[in-house]
Amino acid sequence: MSLKERMGHFDIRETADVALIVDASETAGNYRKEIVQLTNQLIDSLPPGCAHDLFFLGCSTAYETYKFSQNSGLWWETHKNRGSFFAPVAKNLHDNDRIVVIGNGPVYDLEDWTEKPFAENIIFAKMGDSSLRGPIETGEEMGNPNAQDIMNKINNPIISVTIKGENFLPYYWDNAIYHLVKTTDSNFELTVKSTEKQQIYGITIGFFGEKVIAEVQRESGINKVTFSAGTMLPPRWDDLDDIGKEVFKNAIVQQNYLCPRCKQEHAAHQLICSNEGIWGRCVYSSFGINRGIFMLKEESQRVLYSRHFGTAIRLSGNSAAVLDGRKLIPYHFDSDENKWLAGEAMSPYYCLDNKYLLAI
């Protein structure tokens, strides 16, 4: 029985996209100075790397935020008295956007939007005496906030990400900060923890399994991210150097070879020369210091190599090989037991569709 297989992209970002919505309606007119001032301060405080747009209540046009300070007068006059309606803006918002409405007086159609995922992320910056959200308990309303108060709410750093699901076993992923973890005998997860360095958390994966989601632990709590359709990058094939070619050609016919590093004879399938360095060194100098799963293939007179994306690789419709130290362990999905079962470690140079697999 074949498992479900998918390619998916998880759009996970350190800082959510921000939409600033300026209220230039009649009820906000008396607080124009405060609204414009706070909007400018917020724009100056936006963290690097976050996408942002600026809107006016009642209008679907997205403005470039950095042009606000120079154009606030003109833009305000354009949108003055337009009416406090969310609908025209709402269709331009995304589920995970952090939204700040800066103004005064009720947003009349807010109730229509309370079931949208972004509704909980709205911060209402009330700059006058009249509530923006009225009795509708969605998002959060702050009275005369300063920019820092709002930025503290918008900044919501990631602590960790865990991608998991039923019978989940990924066999391709394009973001090396994620590690494959075997949690129990039958479960796999892809995980990453934050570091002091800024990291990119977006990832495309090829996987077996169902109900696969990413649990993103942020300072404010956990949110679950679903995937959209993703595309696998084709492997990049490079020429193996001549010395490596000799090693390879001997190895696949089970012949011992003369090690290019220590100049002594090694067994055909020996991949690490233990006479070099404390931990030994890979006999293929073309691989450099990289570790992981490598693929080799012959093409006429050439021998090409490619490093696989991820530390597991698909073998068939219900099996994959997982890197464990310097071994590849095959896992087969047993539909009777409904779990992944490990097999014996695979020999080096396991042949898969005319490609030879190596675990380095």
Binding site: S25, E26, T27, G58, C59, K80, N81, R82, G83, S84, F85, A87, P88, A90, K91, G105, Y108, D109, E111, D112, T114, E115
Partner: protein, 218 residues
């Protein structure tokens, strides 16, 4: 007998064969809000005053007791005419005449409700989610939810379209405006009869909450 078309707000109209198309319902606040947003000239204060007598109800919270709150009522015919002017090209849309309104009423009243196959087909069409190519997909879906909610209350074509138990609707009569239609008694106690009572002499300085309007595309 009927075709379904959509105006630029994404809301449906019923088109009579070889005849004009009528808004399935009176104009909603959601539609009028879009008009306000795009045209200016009607600020927050105007809108708040307009909603005092018939407060806004979200389409997500429609029920048998409050559905009138979804619709734009209590406004002058001049404001209704500005809305229909905005809706299409010059004179493409209007509010109906007395005769046109009655024609629409008869076309619905002729149905053997709810067994009438034509009506069933139409309401099924209306309850479908429309395809993505529609420009106003968000509002069309909103209209579909509204159709779902109202059909849960009424499966009678006249009531579903609020030609009965809806509002008194502004219509052209000679060079003036009069009202046709009958609200349900729980909303406004009255002795109007939808078809026959022509409500005249409505004060324009304080339009009652039971006055709404429906669009026609000729």
């Amino acid at each position: 007998m009927w075709n379904l078309i959509y105006d630029k707000t994404g809301f449906p109209l019923m088109q009579l064969k070889n005849g004009p198309a009528f808004g399935v319902w009176p104009v909603t606040k959601i539609q009028f809000e879009r008009f306000i947003s795009e045209t200016k000239g009607y600020g927050d204060k105007w809108y708040e005053d307009a909603c005092v007598s018939n407060p806004r109800v979200s389409y997500r919270n429609l029920d048998v007791n409050n559905y009138e709150g979804l619709f734009m009522s209590g406004i002058k015919p001049d404001d209704a005419l500005k809305y229909v002017d905005w809706l299409g090209k010059k004179k493409e849309y209007d509010i109906p005449t007395v005769e046109e309104w009655r024609t629409f009423y008869h076309s619905l009243n002729g149905s053997n409700i709810p067994a009438d196959k034509e009506w069933q087909h139409f309401s099924a069409l209306l309850l479908q989610e429309k395809p993505q190519e529609l420009i106003q997909i968000e509002l069309t879906l909103t209209a579909t939810i509204i159709a779902n909610n109202i059909s849960a209350i009424y499966n009678d074509a006249l009531k579903f379209t609020l030609m009965k138990d809806g509002f008194v609707e502004w219509v052209h009569y000679k060079r003036e405006f009069v009202g046709l239609g009958a609200p349900r008694s729980e909303y406004y106690s009255n002795t109007f009869r939808s078809l026959n009572t022509m409500v005249e002499g409505i004060r324009l300085d304080s339009v009652p909450k039971f006055m709404a309007f429906r669009v026609i595309k000729r």
